[in-house]
Point group: C2
Chain length 205, copies 2
């Protein structure tokens, strides 16, 4: 393994283990030693690549925020709301299924006051949010969907989809086993239908 490859590979391993740990017990509950154990490196080596636990945490958050990108980013006034919203909800559910730890780290950070992603919330996300509100409002103005407050619709989508990642421990117990395969798809399609119905729409496809 070449030099720069070593760095890349080790950083990746560390980030992966760190994400797992932070998602399970939060920042304060995570031990640098347990991250090291999890990825099979000595603790001092972990702190060689990320100079402090806080640094590592920020790196994990950065990596997670790039996952939030979506088809909805490029939605325009002329697009079909049913199509765009359906796909956005499905994407979000897929993310909850494939990267639940990412969703949980994000949730923990927000619950704890979001101090470490303040800049992200106030800049990138706020901008994204405002532009999406405008698109939804234009769909309403064109009579393509019922008049609802677009803000509440976005919160609604985030809440109901992220729940499947963040609360999977509860869901798994009430369901007597993790939701998976077809049943998870059913949950997805239920959400698509329900949320779209709230906008006076029917799912695409």
């Amino acid at each position: 393994m070449s030099g720069s490859e070593i760095r890349t590979a080790n950083c990746e391993k560390i980030l992966q283990s760190a994400t797992k740990m932070f998602a399970k017990v939060g920042f304060a509950g995570t031990r640098v030693q347990s991250i090291a154990d999890d990825c099979g490196l000595p603790k001092a080596n972990v702190l060689y690549y990320f100079k402090s636990k806080k640094d590592l945490y920020h790196a994990v958050l950065d990596q997670i925020l790039t996952l939030w990108n979506s088809v909805f980013d490029k939605a325009e006034i002329d697009d079909d709301p049913a199509e765009v919203l359906s796909e956005y909800i499905r994407e979000k559910m897929q993310l909850s299924l494939e990267r639940p730890e990412a969703s949980r780290v994000f949730a923990l950070e927000i619950i704890s006051g979001a101090q470490n992603i303040d800049a992200y919330l106030e800049n990138e996300l706020a901008e994204w949010f405002a532009s999406r509100l405008a698109v939804i409002q234009s769909w309403i103005d064109q009579g393509k969907m019922q008049p609802i407050n677009p803000k509440f619709l976005l919160f609604h989508i985030w809440a109901s989809t992220q729940h499947y990642a963040d609360f999977s421990a509860q869901i798994a117990r009430l369901n007597r086993g993790e939701l998976k395969g077809e049943e998870y798809e059913d949950a997805t399609e239920y959400l698509v239908r329900s949320i779209l119905a709230g906008c006076g729409l029917k799912p695409s496809e």
Copy 2:
């Protein structure tokens, strides 16, 4: 202040401060000293009433779980689903508004694997859940509402209402200020309308 009153009053103060702290930084992140500071008692006094931090945490969880009781508990086959579900969603939203810390402590506990409320989830809640599924299914069988999977409906309600407590830091920033008063009521009525529409129902009142 009489003897037993001292105990009651101090326990209450401690529980209140503890809830606040656990909600903000989780179990691992909370310092017994900071709970003591918050309620103006010496640390040794806090540990006199609750013999360990874990004990105190369990007391906080116990207190929170009693809040989960609701009108929906007594819903029957003969009731009107629109009425019952509307009121349940409104209750849940009210709780998110009035006791956000309770919701956050619960969320943190679930995200961390729910090991401390395992018994509650598997007994009380599982029983409640099963009986509510039956009631909803009976409404469907009677043609009172559209055929949806009752499980997903309950998850949907929990997710979308608790979100306003758990993610209020994010909401406040995107909204440029906390949702409150009329705007919070608007959010509530949006959710009622939207979720009911997903069941082919219209809000009561």
